[in-house]
Amino acid sequence: MDHANLVTRKRQAPTTLDLWDAFDDLRREFERTFGDLEFPSVSGLLDWPAGPDIDLVEGDDEILVLADLPGVRKGDLELSIQGNLLTIKGEKKREEPTQSHKVVRTETWVGSFSRTINLPDSVNPEKVEAELRDGVLRIRIAKREEAKRRAVQISVK
């Protein structure tokens, strides 16, 4: 028997300082300690969303969906619309550091994401335009004619 194996070795100090890793360790510690107690509010406490931030804006004639997607290329993005459900799917990649590079600090996330949002019923899913520029996705969806807000002049007799 190898005696060295009897000694629990300390985990090696991480060579990179990653705040989220530290949070993850803390969460695991929490779950290990309090896991059996089943705190309903504890799960997800330190989870962070791996997804883009979006805005959904209803204008007079169209619906705008805006998403901040820095580093996402057109080819890695997939948009679909079904009825009034819009799905934004994609993958955020990062140039992998070469062997000689040491990562000093990471505050950004990479990976695949998917987000489905409910559009107002007034949308016309046939008329959609999307543009990705400077890391911002802009989707314009027309409203149905009857849903457009228009001012009607009423003459008073």
Binding site: E58, V103, D134
Partner: protein
């Protein structure tokens, strides 16, 4: 409920970054969606490298049904030491990601000493 959002002059976001290095250079990548080349201002003053990015995408007006994005300009300052060559800094902005490459001075690189 009509909401109009304006970009206030004072509020800033610190863009999330990834920094990596090797013996000859330091690479910093910052996420700054909505910023174009024209809205970017990078300066080195003494030991401070400052990056200012103005968002150029317009803020639509209308009724906000979901609002998660933060419509602020970006500001980040790094402290750099003497080992960084002030003349050897390059910047590239693609798809909302700013990549800064800072060269390490020749004199600051580790040197191998040959044994005779």
């Amino acid at each position: 409920m009509e909401t109009s959002i304006t970009r206030s002059g004072n509020k800033m976001i610190v863009p999330p970054a990834q920094i990596r290095e090797d013996e000859s250079e330091v690479i910093a990548q910052l996420e700054m969606p909505g910023v174009t080349k024209e809205g970017l201002d990078i300066k080195i003053d003494g030991h401070t490298l400052t990056i200012d990015g103005k968002r150029s995408d317009d803020i639509p007006s209308g009724k906000y049904l979901i609002r998660e994005r933060r419509h602020y300009d970006y500001h980040k300052a790094f402290t750099i030491d003497e080992s960084i060559d002030r003349e050897g800094v390059s910047a590239d902005l693609t798809d909302g990601i700013l990549t800064l490459r800072l060269k390490v001075k020749e004199t600051a690189k580790p040197r191998k000493i040959p044994v005779k």
